[in-house]
């Protein structure tokens, strides 16, 4: 998943789009060097010391990792995927919602 996320962040850097993570690693200090290696540059909430059992994953009823939610510019959930969707599906879904966001911004 990480290589695609990296390319997504790069490709969309001038678009009204953000990749926001919720990291569920319990031992954050031990993992941080790995994140650097993997060039995980996007911002993430930390799910806390309980790892996958932490409060954010619980509030979002996350049953498996990765889980992805696509949220539009108005804050509405537009799509969700348990397990990584294939890259073409994900990219197309994002592109459609980003186009809406740009249209809304142009109308203002």
């Amino acid at each position: 998943m990480f290589p695609h996320e990296r390319s997504l962040v790069e490709k969309m850097k001038d678009e009204p789009f953000a990749l926001v993570g919720v990291n569920s690693d319990a031992d954050l200090a031990a993992m941080k060097p790995k994140f650097k290696e993997e060039k995980i540059t996007w911002r993430s909430f930390w799910n806390g010391e309980e790892g996958t059992q932490g409060p954010i994953a619980a509030a979002w009823n996350v049953q498996g990792w990765p889980t992805l939610y696509l949220i539009d510019h108005t804050g509405k959930i537009r799509n969700k995927w348990l397990g990584g969707p294939d890259e073409a599906t994900l990219d197309a879904a994002i592109a459609a919602v980003v186009a809406e966001a740009k249209e809304a911004a142009a109308k203002k």
Binding site: F17, A18, N61, W65, P66, L70, H73, T74, G75
Partner: protein, 261 residues
């Protein structure tokens, strides 16, 4: 001598010949099933057209495993292994890895289900069958007919699993395609009624209760539905600096629950 023979067989990767039935078990048959699948997948013939693979289980291997299960069944009257053996006949005769299933396999499935439904219908353990009722090939209609009979079970565990199945299917469908308000209210009410009747029971094989399932699923249906406003998140980032999901209003957000572990 016996120990030596078994060791030799393990080293050579073969089943001990003439394994005495008294030390055979349902678990051993199951292990041998997975071992055979794994071994056969490693020795796929080359030159097969793309998308085609050789069956992972031969008819002979499958019949051998089924025969062992019937022997266990025969010597286990009154013992938990009796029903376990029948469950395992149902599971193995439904294997997708011998295609198409032979008449013999279909007959084994029918015989095992007939015995389960006549001798064990009121047994709590049948609930696990309800959760995962498989059949070889095109026997879906027979499965549906049998499933209806599960509604007559006197076991609370079976009744709970029987009521859970269609509810879970509705909830799954609703998660992917949001319901109209009345249909959503009806589903939530049905789930609440189910929880008040069976909530305390454990979902077979899951380690959580039906009440937990209803609580989590209702919450998701209400608060995490497609088209609904995403719940706020306010927490620290990986350096402990607080931020909010709503800080991104105006932008599209791909919220990614990830972990490195």
């Amino acid at each position: 001598m016996r120990a030596w023979l078994i060791t030799a067989c393990l080293v050579l990767g073969a089943s001990p010949p003439g394994r005495a039935q008294e030390d055979d078990s349902v678990g051993a048959v199951r292990n041998d099933y997975y071992t055979a699948l794994s071994n056969n997948s490693k020795k796929q013939p080359k030159n097969l057209p793309a998308g085609v693979s050789a069956p992972l289980m031969t008819e002979t291997e499958l019949q051998g495993l089924l025969a062992r299960l019937w022997k266990i069944y025969d010597v286990s009257a009154g013992d938990p292994a009796e029903l376990d053996a029948l469950f395992q006949v149902v599971a193995l005769s439904s294997t997708p890895y011998v295609a198409p299933p032979s008449d013999k396999t279909i007959e084994a499935w029918r015989e095992a289900t007939r015995k389960i439904f006549t001798d064990f219908l009121d047994d709590d353990r049948v609930a696990s069958l309800v959760m995962n009722f498989e059949a070889p090939g095109k026997l879906k209609r027979e499965v549906d007919e049998l499933t209806k009979q599960l509604g007559n079970s006197k076991s609370r565990a079976v009744k709970a699993a029987f009521a859970y199945q269609p509810l879970a299917a509705r909830a799954d469908a609703a998660a992917n395609a949001p319901l109209a308000p009345e249909a959503e209210a009806k589903l939530l009410a049905d789930m609440a009624a189910f929880a008040s009747e069976f909530g305390a029971a454990e979902i077979p094989g899951r380690g959580t209760s039906y009440a937990d399932w209803v609580k989590n699923t209702s919450y998701s249906l209400l608060n995490l539905k497609i088209g609904g406003i995403a719940p706020e998140i306010e927490a620290g980032d990986l350096d402990g600096v607080k931020f909010k999901l709503s800080d991104y209003r105006g932008k599209v957000v791909l919220l990614d629950f990830w972990g490195y572990w």
